[in-house]
Point group: C2
DNA sequence: CTCTGTGAACTTGTTCACAGCG
DNA sequence: CGCTGTGAACAAGTTCACAGAG
């Protein structure tokens, strides 16, 4: 697993017992499906209605064998000699990712980053709706942010339970994050996206994904360092990256 | 591999030819070093000066064998029967990651996210300084954001070259990202952190890391979907995540 | 004859388990 | 004797290369 890649615990992903609708996907595959989906939507907008593994792979920045293997895990939705029907593939991926269900998200912490996340168009366009905002600072409570009023963190339990929110986003300072996570979990949240630079511990059955902006820069720094010192043929693009192979433009 | 996982091309990382100072680290190890570093700093602040692999592993959310293997790639900086000297380990990791050198960063795109990034304290505290802001919108040019004036994107080449900026952050809409990347590369930038939801193509020798906020939610959605349908023992925490193993609280 | 789907080879990453240093 | 450092076993992920469907 990418950013980041890569890191994190074993990533058991998902064990078997799967019906036809819930194939048992490798973690690495799950992490790439959203990227395929994005490329497919782009193609639809461009008026395309069919694509080859080669074409979609190029658009998503992976190689075609990998793409075919990923898609084959969903079942066979391609036609040999022709390619994939884009609409059908989109439906299939959205179904597997559970994007056909509308998902409400609670956002905790309305500092700089929280404000940006609250207004991030990319969430809404992908079927996620931020339905509640929380902050511990009384000065921020009541403030309207992108059409939603900020509530005090004390309201978290009630709201999350009432609105059956299953996904929480933590954008608080690190020192507050564990406590917020505990409250989210207690209220019934089972998936957390954590932007605070700290490790959260949560009960089994709760998924946490972490995005640490500074970590990404530090990884780039490592590669810079190596390039600068001319050692090895440093050039690697890892976890979640997107360089196409062998292009030399500039 | 995995958050990134992590997606992306082969991830050659770094080939050999390494001197003692530039060990050839596996990508997965590089991705974890920043997390170790953060935990170590936290321990220093708490007044600790020594830690065991077990202790640091717990703090960083990995298992201790992995941690020891990761650190062993840097050379032997532990004492058997005792543990690691925190200060020494911090120095070593910072050196390997190239954090001893001050790195200026250019940020392009000052929408919601760009504003948040410009003010993100986590960058500065990790040795990265945002030294220039760019936007294409004339209405935003000249605006002061966290002490820096926004310049027009036309100034990018000059500024990046003059200030010898090696790292660029793209926080523009997707449609502008490729053009911005091209300009960054042309001006000499060799590492790019891309927040735009699109694949960038860059020449060999340039590293790109991608952070896509919506992708993270979609991955969580997949696990939600499986949990809701009770299929398999869904619970996996992948790329860049941070749940401790086997804790059952709440 | 083209392009998918997939076994098999290979590479990378993780975990185990223990030798041996301090 | 505790804890690091590491070979060896294992697991996951990637790539190759080709059979065979359309």
């Amino acid at each position: 697993m990418s950013q980041q890649r890569s890191g994190g615990e074993a990533g058991l992903s998902t064990r078997n017992g799967a019906g036809p609708d819930f194939p048992d996907l490798p973690d690495a595959t799950v992490a790439r499906l959203p990227e395929y989906l994005r490329s497919l939507h782009q193609m639809l907008e461009a008026g395309q209605d069919t694509t080859s593994s080669e074409g979609l792979a190029a658009a998503a920045g992976v190689n075609s064998a990998k793409l075919r293997k990923d898609l084959s895990h969903l079942g066979s939705y391609g036609t040999r000699g022709v390619g994939y029907d884009i609409t059908r593939l989109v439906e299939q991926i959205e179904h597997v990712l559970g994007l056909t269900i509308h998902r409400g998200v609670a956002l905790v912490g309305l500092g700089n980053l929280g404000h940006a996340l609250a207004g991030y168009a990319g969430f809404a366009s992908r079927g996620f709706e931020i339905v509640a905002l929380f902050d511990a600072d009384p000065a921020r409570v009541g403030e309207m942010v992108h059409g939603l009023a900020v509530r005090h963190i004390d309201q978290l339990a009630v709201t999350v339970t009432q609105e059956r929110i299953a996904i929480g986003v933590i954008a608080t300072p690190a020192r507050a994050a564990q406590s917020v996570a505990d409250q989210l979990v207690a209220a019934g949240v089972t998936s957390i996206l954590n932007f605070a630079p700290c490790v959260l511990s949560v009960p089994e059955g709760v998924d946490v994904r972490k995005v640490d902006l500074a970590v990404e820069l530090q990884i780039l720094s490592f590669h810079e360092h190596r390039k600068a010192n001319g050692n090895g043929q440093a050039n690697g693009v890892a976890r979640g990256s997107a360089a196409r192979p062998g292009e030399v433009a500039a």
